[in-house]
């Protein structure tokens, strides 16, 4: 049985000020996996996602979403940026932030209406944040802000979800709530790609994993490739010892 390839990255190289942060990445992600991208700080994990989504221009290489360039497939992709990348003092409410997820399907100029509002309220309910819909976003806790971001991605009703550290700065309850929603998405046949920091939880949360450290080290099912060999190659230290400590 051969599954479709959801995301294919081919010879991708990205540089900031002529210093390569991603070097000749080849990667293909099959449809329907829940995949972690792991690697040390500065490994280029966020950069990989951003260049797949066309937020950063690579200096070489190409990306295909279901065989076509990203710009033709925007409606199939949802994105959750790092929580710290936005200004939470921005004058807006939780519901309004979630509604932003509908902007992509509306296109330029057209305003969100009743239908978009209904979808957004449903997404808020799904992440357990309906009671906070009119709360100003700076008045939300870190975990609540992350749930709002997740709801905004859910509203996009995409086939592929990219999430940049969705567990950063959230409490244990929120972490479990988020991973349950991600697992539901996978059950519904969606592809979910998550930049992840906590190596301990990789086997429990994910079924696929990509090891990345400027170069691509390995991609595959967690049960096959999540081993000391790849961890050591990625982090440069003997990880068996480090994890057990």
């Amino acid at each position: 049985m051969k599954t479709k390839i959801a995301v294919a990255v081919d010879d991708l190289t990205v540089a900031y000020n002529y210093k390569p942060v991603l070097w000749d990445i080849d990667l293909s992600i099959p449809e329907g996996v829940l995949m972690a991208i792991v690697g040390p700080n500065g490994a280029g994990k966020s950069t990989l996602i951003k260049s797949i989504l066309g937020i950063i221009d690579p200096i070489a290489g190409s990306v295909a979403i279901y065989g076509k360039p990203y710009t033709k497939q925007r409606d199939k992709v949802a994105y959750v940026p790092q929580k710290g990348s936005v200004d939470w003092d921005f004058p807006t409410t939780a519901l309004d932030v979630v509604m932003m997820g509908t902007y992509g399907s509306l296109g330029w100029i057209k305003r969100p209406g009743a239908k978009e509002k209904k979808l957004s309220l449903e997404a808020l309910e799904k992440v357990g944040m309906l009671a906070f819909k009119n709360r100003q976003i700076s008045q939300l806790s870190g975990g609540q802000q992350q749930r709002i971001f997740l709801a905004r991605a859910l509203v996009q009703n995409a086939a592929i979800y990219f999430m940049d550290e969705p567990f950063q700065g959230v409490d244990a309850t929120t972490e479990i709530a988020i991973i349950n929603i991600l697992k539901e998405l996978r059950k519904a046949g969606k592809t979910v790609i998550v930049v992840h920091h906590d190596l301990q939880t990789v086997p429990e949360y994910f079924d696929w994993v990509t090891f990345l450290n400027v170069k691509h080290i390995a991609t595959g099912p967690v049960k096959d490739i999540f081993n000391d060999d790849n961890l050591t190659k990625t982090y440069g230290i003997n990880y068996k010892v480090a994890v057990q400590q």
């Binding site: 000020n17 951003k50 989504l53 066309g54 937020i55 710009t71 925007r74 992709v77 994105y79 940026p81 990348s85 936005v86 200004d87 921005f90 004058p91 807006t92 409410t93 932030v97 932003m100 902007y103 992509g104 509306l106 296109g107 330029w108 100029i109 305003r111 969100p112 009671a131 100003q136 700076s138 008045q139 806790s141 975990g143 905004r152 409490d171 309850t173």
Partner: protein
Amino acid sequence: MSPMIDIQLIAAVTAAACAIPGVFLVLRKMALISDAISHSILPGIVIGFFITHDLASPWLIIFAAFSGIITVVLVELIQKTGLVKEDTAIGLVFPALFSIGVILIAQNANDVHLDVDAVLLGDLVYAPFDRLIIDNADFGPKGLWTISVILVITLVLLFAFYKELKISTFDVGLSSALGFSPVILHYGLMSVASVTTVAAFDAVGAILVVAMMITPAAAAYLLTTDLRKMLILSVLFGVGSAIGGYWFARWLDASISGSITTVLGLLFLLIYLFAPSKGLIAVLFRQSRQRIEVSLLTFLLHLNNHDSENERRVAHLQEHINWRKVKANSVLQLAEKNNMITIDNQIVSLTDKGLEFTEKALDYIITNKDEKIEDMKDDFFLFRG
């Protein structure tokens, strides 16, 4: 129409046209860029004047707006080298362009109505006398027409691209991923800011136009948590200050643009002090309340930990927790007012409500989960994060 009304109209429309791009500049933390633009459009105006020999020509606005955009591009180019930070890049670019403008005026335009004073401070007083006359019919001051057209264009763009401006200001990454190019929106906003600055330049000059862009938005930001209301409030503050400033100037017999800016500054000061939740006084009040609430919690924990009556005597509490009498009293009062304790014969006891509160608060402090304390946020500042 009398010159009096003309001046007020020009000032009010200018203020409204400045306030709208100002809101987005403030939210994008780019207030300084408006300062840079307002100075560096000068060479554009001068060169435009040399070509057209007409201070009221629309070409002047186009040339000047173009030099505004060049400023933004130069600042970004210098910043991109990574050798200097953004504020330094701004500080390098605009004085350079402005000084080119000043030299060009001094060299070539001594005999025309284009002097450095007018450039810096504007000359609203003369604006009503430059009239738009078509077929001998007087259609009012030219300056009013120019700025009104710009206000209408700004409003149309704002209504059309409100959603795009909002998302690209709040979340550049998502905006780009969804196909709303942040670069296009950025330069669109910069173009509007530049054009508005040029038109406002005549009325209020290079320095005061910055106040018209930034001050109303900064004041509105302290009063609301809704972008729509922030825009409306900014326009109202701008227009109010423009008209208020005019009458202030008449009363003082002083510069109109200076008075408008002074009124704007005073308005901001008032809001800065008295804004209900973000104002200085509200913040200080909240901090002092939080201090008392922390003491309250300490006190309730103490009660919770000690059963013996000896430990719960009012006098003992003062000695034991080492608080001064005033503080001990205010904490006792707060606890009693909220029915958390009862004082019977100088012996303090925790009520059921007090016990529940203590446990919830402890749970919140230990786990940092705030689902259970939602109802407490209304009464206590401490739990509002």
